[in-house]
């Protein structure tokens, strides 16, 4: 547990020191939203807004999370191998990516509000859904990144491997986020959906912890 936090702290410190990658992603989000702002009609329909938002989340995640494993050199991995167990290592990575993704989701949500007339009525609820969604997407893509880093042409592979797997959760999220708009749900349905997504998150986390040791040793 202590080592997990040490590894997590290392990742955060690294991110703070190498700020160019962090700002690079922020710029990526900003320019994507700006392109959407310029290419869409002035007030997009709620469904269009919603689907664009989640697709952007997906691509932001591919770009942020992807480097979590790709940037580690072989020698560095060998060093981690000697000081930590695979479970500690993957837990630290998962936590770090969740934090990073939540930050990025919040930024892109702000930009979406700013540039594109938002159809959202219930801001806090929608923000909660965005945080939940950011967690789900980053969990899945962390493991995909770990898998892809073992193969050769890995950057493209993350998207190929991850998109079909994340689709069910993404569909559930898009459906759930409509509760932040005008759509009225049946009593308890919102909670039920949210619990389902959270349950899938727990499943992904458990699987990552179980399966990562097999990817770890080379």
């Amino acid at each position: 547990m202590k080592r997990t936090f040490a590894l997590l702290k290392k990742d955060i410190l690294l991110e703070l020191r190498r700020q160019h990658t962090f700002y690079g992603i922020l710029l990526y989000i900003a320019s994507t939203v700006f392109v959407i702002y310029l290419s869409l009609p002035d007030s997009p329909d709620g469904n269009v807004w919603n689907s664009l938002f989640w697709v952007i989340q997906l691509f932001v995640c591919v770009n942020t999370v992807a480097k979590s494993f790709l940037q580690e050199s072989k020698g560095l991995m060998l060093y981690y191998y000697s000081i930590a167990s695979p479970i500690e290592f993957i837990t630290a990575k998962l936590l770090f990516n969740i934090i990073l993704m939540l930050l990025m989701s919040s930024v892109s949500l702000l930009l979406f509000y700013f540039f594109l007339d938002s159809p959202v009525l219930n801001y806090w609820r929608f923000y909660g859904i965005v945080l939940l969604g950011g967690t789900s997407i980053s969990l899945t893509f962390t493991l995909m990144s770990a898998i892809a880093s073992k193969a050769q042409q890995n950057a493209a592979l993350i998207a190929i491997l991850g998109f079909p797997v994340i689709l069910p959760q993404l569909l559930l999220l898009m459906r759930l986020s409509k509760s932040g708009f005008a759509e009225v749900f049946r009593d308890g349905a919102v909670l039920q959906l949210a619990a389902l997504i959270a349950g899938l998150d727990v499943l992904v986390f458990t699987l990552a912890v179980i399966l990562f040791p097999f990817l770890w040793k080379d």
């Binding site: 079909p164 069910p168 559930l172 459906r175 699987l207």
Partner: protein, 232 residues
């Protein structure tokens, strides 16, 4: 001969399915009419696909337990054949859709095909497509087996719950959607006429056995090819 009884059974069941399926009486329903006979083929493809994917995952798990190359061959061949059955399921489904859901009001395929059950099947095919792309991107054999086994298990564990959940949350034209009294398109006994059930259940078993049979043949060829590797 002792080991081959299920192959004979598969042949007999399929012969029965084709003969009885095309000749025996079926309930005549509006719109469906005689196309209801597709039930003996279309639905069975999905059963066979599910079974083959489940077998594939089981062998992936076994591979990770003792790193025997043999199990990797099993897993990849079962997955490949599962894909074939998935595609066949799609083709039979599209044929069915084109005469039932698409009527003379000029809907496009795209408007009709956004069905939760079709999405689930499409995702399953995409996942296994990704599985083969992943396998192709390795040169090292041990690494390939290990990493693709991990992906296979993860993807299966993520997908199949959602395939079983999502269709139950969203309404659809497909039989078995909420509102049609049953949650499952194939297993509810209230949905099907008794004469049809007498053909449908054997058909499911027959097609599934056929799938496993073809897969075992492919596995045996692969095992012979890799003989030198396996004994090393």
């Amino acid at each position: 001969m002792k080991k081959n009884w299920w192959k004979i059974l598969s042949f007999l069941l399929l012969a029965y399915t084709v003969v009885a399926g095309f000749l025996l009486k079926v309930p005549s329903l509006p719109i469906l009419n005689e196309t209801i006979r597709n039930m003996y083929f279309h639905v069975c493809m999905w059963f066979a696909m599910m079974t083959l994917f489940i077998l594939s995952v089981i062998y992936s798990i076994r591979y990770l337990r003792n790193f025997n190359h043999r199990f990797d061959i099993y897993a990849s061949n079962y997955a490949a054949l599962g894909c074939v059955f998935g595609i066949l399921g799609y083709i039979t489904g599209v044929e069915w859709v084109s005469v039932t859901w698409i009527t003379d009001q000029g809907q496009s395929f795209a408007s009709v095909l956004k069905e939760p059950k079709l999405i689930g099947a499409a995702i399953a095919l995409l996942v296994y497509g990704a599985y083969f792309v992943l396998r192709g991107s390795f040169t090292d054999m041990d690494k390939r087996s290990r990493v693709s086994a991990v992906y296979n298990i993860f993807a299966f564990a993520m997908l199949f719950p959602s395939i079983w959940i999502i269709p139950r949350l969203v309404g659809s034209l497909h039989p078995g959607a909420p509102g049609s009294e049953s949650g499952n398109p194939a297993l509810d006994k209230n949905d099907m006429d008794i004469g049809m059930r007498a053909i449908f259940y054997p058909a499911v078993i027959g097609w599934t056995l056929l799938g496993v049979w073809i897969a075992t043949l492919k596995i045996r060829i692969q095992l012979l090819k890799d003989k030198s590797l396996l004994n090393a």
